[in-house]
């Protein structure tokens, strides 16, 4: 079956077959240099804010189930099945309970659906800067996120002029605070522009790209309805069905930058929310035990490093921002 999609996939697979050669091109060198500078900038910023960087966990008996239809990678762990982290969310909460303000540079694996290979924004293997802060609200987390992003963007603008020039990228300076649109307002914004999004699901990629093009600066979408996110996003007590969470969106059509929330830390609530995924809560035994003993409330977010690099460098596809990238269904080195 030779469709346009399969032709495009074959073309991509052909390029990625020798992905190890790319790192020798001036373009790839510039991209990875920008990435390095951005990571440094974010690390320094967070450390100056009192965050501690921890070594990220790689495997565990369970991992984040809220990964939008992607499959988790499993390994045989002495006869039991263990998961490769799809995100470090569960361990972030554990670490936060002891250290207050923490972050990981967390390598994640998500076996994404095949149709994600051509979106230009999905990688099977990627790294996110994943942070969590105790006793914080999602507004506190957003305040950190917008300053963190500004720090990365403005440092790269100041110190990577040569690289940006080589990449042909005009990177605009940004300044917090960013605009905040609620989920409802976003749907309305899209509706009057002729795009219908079913209430209750995450904003589809194409719609997100469109709104990201239309609003000329980074902005937050906040207050997603329950059901659109994982069980760990806190529901607003005064507004049942609304979650205290957010996505940070890049301008210029680059889509989602970061995703975060205030955490549901109460045992019974988490248990009820887990049922929504149809899973047996027993699977999360250690996590539930931790919640049952009690942990502090917290908020946090994760920001994808390759997607950030894509935005900073103005790349068509996120796979350009990674050494030997892995895309859904493509067997590359």
């Amino acid at each position: 079956m030779e469709t346009e999609v399969s032709v495009e996939l074959q073309r991509l697979a052909e390029i990625l077959r020798q992905s190890w050669k790319m790192v020798r091109t001036p373009r790839m060198r510039a991209i990875l240099k920008v990435q390095d500078v951005a990571c440094d900038a974010m690390r320094s910023f967070l450390k100056s804010e009192g965050f501690i960087e921890l070594l990220p966990p790689i495997i565990g008996p369970v991992t984040d189930p809220g990964i939008r239809g992607a499959k988790q990678a499993t390994i045989d762990y002495y006869g039991r099945e263990y998961k490769v982290m799809s995100s470090a969310i569960l361990y972030k909460q554990a670490a936060m309970s002891g250290l207050g303000k923490i972050f990981f540079m967390s390598p994640n694996v998500r076996l994404e659906p095949i149709d994600s290979a051509l979106t230009g924004r999905h990688l099977v293997e990627f790294v996110q800067l994943d942070l969590e802060m105790a006793e914080a609200s999602y507004f506190d987390a957003m305040a950190v996120a917008e300053r963190l992003l500004s720090e990365a963007v403005n440092t790269v603008r100041d110190t990577c002029q040569k690289e940006l020039e080589l990449l042909g990228r005009q990177l605009p300076a940004i300044k917090p605070p960013f605009k905040k649109l609620t989920y409802d307002e976003t749907l309305e914004y899209l509706r009057v522009r002729g795009i219908k999004v079913r209430y209750g699901v995450e904003i589809p990629w194409d719609a997100e790209q469109l709104i990201s093009k239309m609003i000329g600066e980074p902005f937050f979408i906040i207050d997603y309805p329950r059901g659109a996110r994982g069980f760990y996003d806190m529901e607003d007590e005064r507004r049942p069905g609304i979650l205290r969470d957010f996505d940070l969106i890049y301008p210029e059509g680059y889509g989602e930058c970061a995703s975060g929330a205030e955490r549901e830390y109460r045992y019974e609530k988490v248990l009820a929310r887990m049922k929504e995924t149809g899973e047996d809560p027993r699977k999360y035994a250690w996590y539930l035990e931790m919640l049952k003993e009690g942990i502090p409330p917290s908020a946090g977010f994760g920001i994808g490093v390759e997607r950030l690099t894509r935005y900073l460098c103005g790349l068509d596809a996120v796979w350009e921002a990674r050494l030997c990238p892995k895309l859904a269904g493509i067997y590359s080195p």
Partner: protein, 457 residues
């Protein structure tokens, strides 16, 4: 006084023999096996009463249409009532420029987001050995007939996802691909259930990211089905047998009937939980599915619960693609006697309870029912009541056992032909023209609840 030992043994042996005989007779008598087998073997010839006797004698004795009585009303309580004046037949005639006959009836329809050749689906059969054994024949037959098919719980967990765990028992993906590859174009559709065990292994995520299934997901031919109960055991979960190694691997996560390390048995039972639902959990689950699997249909299977109207309100407001209600007559293959005797609403009572929703249909949710339905008459009666289709389970399984995929096709053709005859008798030629005016009921109370005429009025 006591019986002598040999005498007692003879008595017990006789009793055992008698019990076996009566059990078999009961099983045989409680279900129209003969009728379905005849259909599977002979195809459409079987829809006329056949007999070993000569047609002339048949004429005298009449066909045996009297079934043994049940203690609750069934769809047999309803009759189809053709009119003499048939304006829609006139309309059809002007379209065809000739007198329409029954073969002009168009049964094509949309069922839960799938295009179908007739509004019938193959009920989701799960991992039970007898069903799994014939599942590839069923898949082939259903696909060739262009009707949707469901795959029930625990198939991947019990028999393997893409590799067989035991020879002779097809694995999950064989069932999936056999169905999908036998489809003719975009007619038909496959729905997949996920039990708690399947969810542990992320069955839906696996399917959604499977390169072989991807083209069919892209065509919109895949649906995921939430199972909230089964006809004959609403409120009870299924039963799974795990191999000892499997049990050992999963012992931390599940309640098992015994410790796999301290048993000599090869397999260990795990009684599934029925699942815990409140409106908020159900809503959250549906949204999660829409979110995670935007290109798949969302189906929900319900048992005959007393709060069906409330559940349907949640499901229709969330816009699920299909709701399938299984009456207490359905899914009797693996249910405890006690639940079959005492639990749940008969299908017709379930239909009475959702009469309001059936009357004021808005939105795009399809309504499907099942529960000991097996002929074209059952299908047409359900369509008249405002349902979008029916699901057949056991008739399909019996047909596949006696004559393979050909049997399934033969059987479905008989249903198709009967449905066309009956619909044309009502002076109608399209599924959507059928309505309650075409029905009469033998019971005054049921007639009133369903909003159909009382035949003796």
């Amino acid at each position: 006084m006591s019986l002598s030992k040999p005498f007692l043994n003879i008595f017990l042996a006789l009793h055992r023999f008698y019990s076996l005989f009566t059990d078999l007779a009961e099983i045989w008598g409680s279900y129209p096996f003969r009728e379905i087998i005849e259909r599977a073997r002979k195809g459409v010839d079987a829809i006329y009463p056949a007999d070993v006797l000569k047609p002339s004698i048949m004429l005298l004795k009449g066909a045996n249409i009297y079934k043994q009585p049940t203690r609750y009303a069934t769809l047999d309580e309803l009759l189809l009532l053709p009119p003499a004046f048939t304006p829609l037949r006139l309309k059809k005639m002007s379209e065809l420029l000739r007198e329409p006959i029954f073969s002009d009836v168009d049964l094509r329809h949309n069922l839960g987001g799938f295009n179908v050749n007739m509004p019938v689906m193959v009920a989701s059969m799960g991992s039970v050995q007898v069903a799994n054994k014939i599942s590839l024949e069923v898949a082939r037959g259903a696909a060739r007939m262009g009707i949707p098919m469901g795959i029930g719980e625990n198939v991947a967990t019990m028999w393997g996802y893409s590799r067989r765990i035991r020879s002779g028992q097809p694995c999950f993906k064989e069932r999936v691909m056999t169905y999908l590859e036998n489809l003719d174009g975009n007619v038909g559709g496959l729905t997949i259930q996920q039990s708690v065990e399947d969810a542990y292994n992320e069955l839906w995520n696996k399917v959604y990211s499977d390169p072989d299934i991807e083209p069919f997901i892209e065509k919109g031919l895949i649906g995921f089905e939430i199972k909230i109960g089964q006809g004959s055991k609403p409120g009870l979960g299924g039963e799974v047998r795990l191999s000892r190694e499997e049990a050992e691997r999963l012992r931390d996560k599940y309640h098992l009937s015994e410790d796999p390390q301290n048993t000599l048995r090869d397999s260990i039972e795990r009684h599934s939980a029925p699942g815990t639902f409140v409106p908020e959990i159900l809503r959250g689950m549906i949204r999660m599915m829409r979110n995670n699997y935007p290109r798949c249909r969302v189906w929900v299977k319900l048992g005959p619960f007393r709060d069906l109207p409330e559940v349907l309100d949640v499901l229709t407001s969330e816009g699920v693609d299909a709701v399938w209600i299984d009456g207490r007559e359905g899914g009797t293959g693996m249910s405890p006697y006690a639940s079959m005797r005492h639990l749940g609403l008969p299908l017709i009572a379930a239909l009475c309870s959702i009469s309001r929703q059936l009357e004021s249909r808005t939105g795009s949710t399809s309504f499907i029912v099942s529960g000991r339905l097996y002929d074209g008459g059952h299908l047409v009666k359900c369509l008249c009541l405002g349902l979008d289709g029916v699901a057949f389970g056991r008739p399909i399984a019996v047909s596949a056992w006696v004559a393979g995929a050909r049997g399934v096709e033969n059987y479905l053709r008989t249903v198709e032909l009967e449905a066309k005859m009956l619909i044309s008798a009502l002076g109608k030629y399209r599924v959507q023209d059928l309505s309650r005016e075409d029905l009469g009921c033998l019971d005054r109370d049921i007639a009133e609840r369903l909003g159909v005429r009382y035949v003796y009025a």
